[in-house]
């Protein structure tokens, strides 16, 4: 028998990231593997292509209407940067103001703590049902599963979230969680899952909306507890804000007796006036509307009007760790508009599920790996061709391509053992740093001429990693002479 090695004392590895085993920030597969399946789904490709193109064009039209869009965008960026620099002060001010107006504030270190707090609060009301306002934070922490595990029934009330919930599916887009479904597929889900639905239901959008409305209305009227997220939390007034299109959120925010709001700590803005900027940037960037139909704001509780009990759960779940990274912290500026998803050529083809996280697309590729620690989502920073379309449309000018590149380096530098790729790249770096070695390496590439045997292109079947290229694309046969060689031969080495 071998002697057991005593377990090492845990070492401090920096600020805590989002814990494993809870929530939806990690996928089961790497991005390339998950994308491979999605790319073969012709229906998905058609649905995504159609939907993203429509929203993209709508956004472009309404953004072009504003002559001061670049200034607004810069104001949004600057406000976020200034807020993050004093995040602790703003959060404490928010807490004071919410308490002063009759609310209760809870601090949740991570998904587990947040789920425990919300579950405890709901159970204390004695209800068995919860209605939900569409919220990314509660999707992130897997709140629905936690509430269901406590024996509660959870009803998503956002139309797209309802489709996802009824279809036992996962959201695939920040704004339009059911973007991967077309209306015929939605009709099928409703016909199968909504009790007492009209058997003659067609895929007419109005009919679908009416079916959902009838289904939801009953739940709004009897709900005693609602759970929401927040788009913004105004520190100076303790005001929470939810921006939406359907009015279902408004129902949840006003009808029940108890309202519980889960807000990521990065959603705080210092002053009421800051909303002036963000409420212009957000709807134009997300739904392509000049103004969204419903903007709800509330502060604490008001006797005789709306919920009489209000709880604000402030969620970290890795955000402080993101804030500690000088380059990556810009990801916390995100206002969840999803404009970057709609213009991303990778998202458009692979879809949201391939990212394995509730945050898909370009913003997800920089946010998820930072919330979980880059090694838990190591394929995501590579899920981009760095085309820069995301940066161009981001309403708060998050330089997503630069952060992707930064996270790739964080991943490379986190490797304990040298990988084959690292050995190759280090060798190549050495060659590219020494002209004589470089010329030798270039000459070595001419070995390709031997295997192509006079043909214009290299063979289709080559060993990995080159096979990744040659499976679908030809690679030219290297020429007999490099440009620099021929130039030196003709002009001498002096020039």
């Amino acid at each position: 028998m071998t002697a057991t090695v005593p377990p090492k004392a845990p070492t401090f590895l920096g600020l805590p990231t989002a814990p494993r085993g809870v929530g939806h920030l990690r996928g089961d597969q790497s991005f390339p593997d998950a994308a491979r399946g999605a790319l073969r789904d012709g229906q998905l490709r058609a649905n995504l292509g159609h939907a993203t193109t429509t929203i993209r064009n709508k956004r472009a039209r309404v953004v072009a209407e504003l002559p001061d869009w670049p200034q607004l965008r810069e104001a949004g960026r600057a406000l976020k940067a200034a807020t993050m620099a004093r995040l602790d002060d703003h959060l404490e001010e928010l807490e004071r103001q919410v308490i002063a107006r009759g609310g209760v504030v809870h601090w949740a270190r991570d998904a587990n703590e947040a789920n425990e707090i919300v579950t405890r609060l709901v159970l204390a009301t004695g209800t068995s049902e919860v209605v939900k306002v569409k919220s990314m934070a509660t999707q992130e922490i897997g709140l629905n599963e936690a509430l269901e595990a406590a024996g509660l029934d959870v009803f998503e009330t956002d139309l797209a979230e309802l489709i996802v919930q009824l279809g036992e599916d996962k959201p695939s887009h920040i704004l339009v969680p059911a973007i991967h479904k077309n209306r015929a597929e939605i009709r099928e889900i409703f016909a199968r899952t909504i009790p007492g639905v009209d058997p003659g239901l067609t895929d007419d959008p109005r009919q679908l909306a009416m079916a959902a409305r009838t289904h939801l209305r009953e739940r709004f009227l009897r709900a005693r507890v609602a759970v929401s997220g927040a788009n913004f939390g105004v520190a100076e007034t303790g005001t929470l804000t939810v921006v939406e299109s359907e009015g279902n959120g408004r129902m949840c925010l006003t009808l029940p007796e108890t309202l519980i709001t889960v807000m990521g700590i990065e959603k705080v803005v210092p002053t009421w006036r800051d909303l002036e900027v963000f409420l212009q940037l957000l709807p134009r960037s997300s739904t392509g509307e000049r103004m969204n139909p419903y903007t709800s704001t509330w502060a604490g509780v008001t006797p005789g009007d709306g919920p009489q009990e209000f709880h604000l759960v402030l969620l970290d779940n890795g955000r402080t760790a993101v804030l500690a990274d000088e380059v990556g912290r810009e990801a916390l500026h995100c206002i969840r508009c999803s404009a970057c998803l709609n213009v991303c050529p990778v998202y458009e083809r692979a879809g949201g599920h391939a990212y394995g996280s509730v945050y898909p697309g370009p913003i997800g590729a920089i946010l998820s790996p930072q919330l979980t620690g880059v090694e838990d989502n190591a394929s995501l920073p590579y899920a981009s061709s760095l085309c820069g379309a995301c940066y161009e449309v981001c309403p708060v000018a998050i330089d997503i391509p630069s952060i992707l590149v930064h996270l790739r380096a964080e991943h490379v530098e986190a490797q304990q053992k040298p990988t084959a790729e690292a050995i190759a790249f280090r060798g190549l770096a050495k060659a590219m740093s020494h002209p004589r070695l470089w010329h030798l390496a270039q000459r070595a590439s001419r070995l390709g001429r031997l295997i192509s045997r006079g043909r214009p292109t290299l063979p289709n079947v080559l060993p990995p990693p080159v096979s990744g290229w040659t499976r679908s694309r030809d690679l030219p046969t290297p020429p007999r002479e490099t440009f620099v060689e021929s130039w030196v031969r003709e002009h001498g080495s002096g020039s």
């Binding site: 491979r36 379309a389 490379v412 590219m432 679908s472 020429p479 002479e481």
Partner: protein, 264 residues
């Protein structure tokens, strides 16, 4: 003016005809072209794959090779963008402030070909002749990082014999993205397929761009499908004259002739 030509590692090694065309074009416009022998790579591939520490010595080599050059021109928007936006940053992160300053200084004198022609030399009609139906793909880094705008179009419109046709979905990435094309080969290929469909839909004979890397990707796909439409770098089109119709298809082996002729 004396112009130092940065061929870029990819063009130098795989598509030397692009660098040759750039040189003959600049010479034809009356400039003296020098080709620093010690040039290798700008470091972009290393930086973008996560090897930013390793890229520092590549940047140092680049800065050494081009020290003292009055103006540096490269036939690649992507490499010039890396010189402008990445080189100093990786040097600075590694704590080499001297190299960062030198890289910044060099970046200030480094131009992508279309920017150099239009902004520095002030020419749009370079006297080229290219009797083909051509569509132009505005590569992502030229478009979004360098913001070359309509400069390539201005240059192409002035080429005699050339019929320029608009590329639908032009601003969509072709799916190259450096190591992305290999690490995410399936997604990359899906993007390439849509790009090729748009290129083929124009019925152009030639798809051109200012980046040899993106062209190698699009051209590699078209060649695999035996589509017939070929990819030709902007420099090769602009270098073409009645006397010397220069360009070869870049996915073809570059000129299996023994002694490359110099086009003066």
């Amino acid at each position: 003016m004396e112009v130092a030509l940065f061929a870029t590692c990819l063009v130098d090694t795989l598509t030397p005809s692009v660098a040759r065309a750039t040189a003959s074009l600049l010479q034809r416009l009356g400039h003296r072209v020098v080709v620093p022998r010690d040039q290798a790579c700008c470091g972009q591939m290393h930086v973008n794959t996560g090897y930013r520490r390793e890229a520092v010595s590549i940047v140092a080599n680049h800065v050494r090779a081009f020290a003292g050059s009055e103006a540096i021109v490269a036939p690649s928007g992507s490499c010039v963008a890396s010189i402008h936006h990445q080189q100093a940053a990786v040097a600075r992160r590694a704590g080499d402030e001297g190299l960062a300053r030198a890289a910044e200084e060099l970046a200030g004198r480094t131009y992508e070909l279309s920017q150099f022609l239009v902004d520095v030399l002030g020419v749009t009609d370079v006297g080229a002749y290219y009797p083909h139906r051509v569509t132009y793909h505005p590569t992502c880094h030229s478009l979004r990082l360098l913001e070359v705008g309509d400069r390539p179009y201005q240059l192409l419109r002035a080429v005699r014999g050339l019929e320029l046709v608009e590329l639908p979905g032009a601003e969509q990435c072709c799916g190259f993205g450096g190591t992305f094309a290999i690490k995410n080969a399936d997604t990359s290929t899906a993007m390439l397929t849509d790009k090729m469909a748009n290129v083929l839909g124009t019925h152009a004979e030639v798809c051109t761009a200012g980046d040899a890397s993106c062209l190698m990707h699009i051209g590699g796909g078209l060649s695999r499908l035996r589509a017939g439409t070929r990819t030709v770098h902007l420099a090769e089109i602009l270098a073409s004259t009645e006397e010397a119709v220069e360009p070869q298809q870049t996915t073809k082996p570059s000129l299996p002739r023994a002694t490359p002729t110099v086009l003066a």
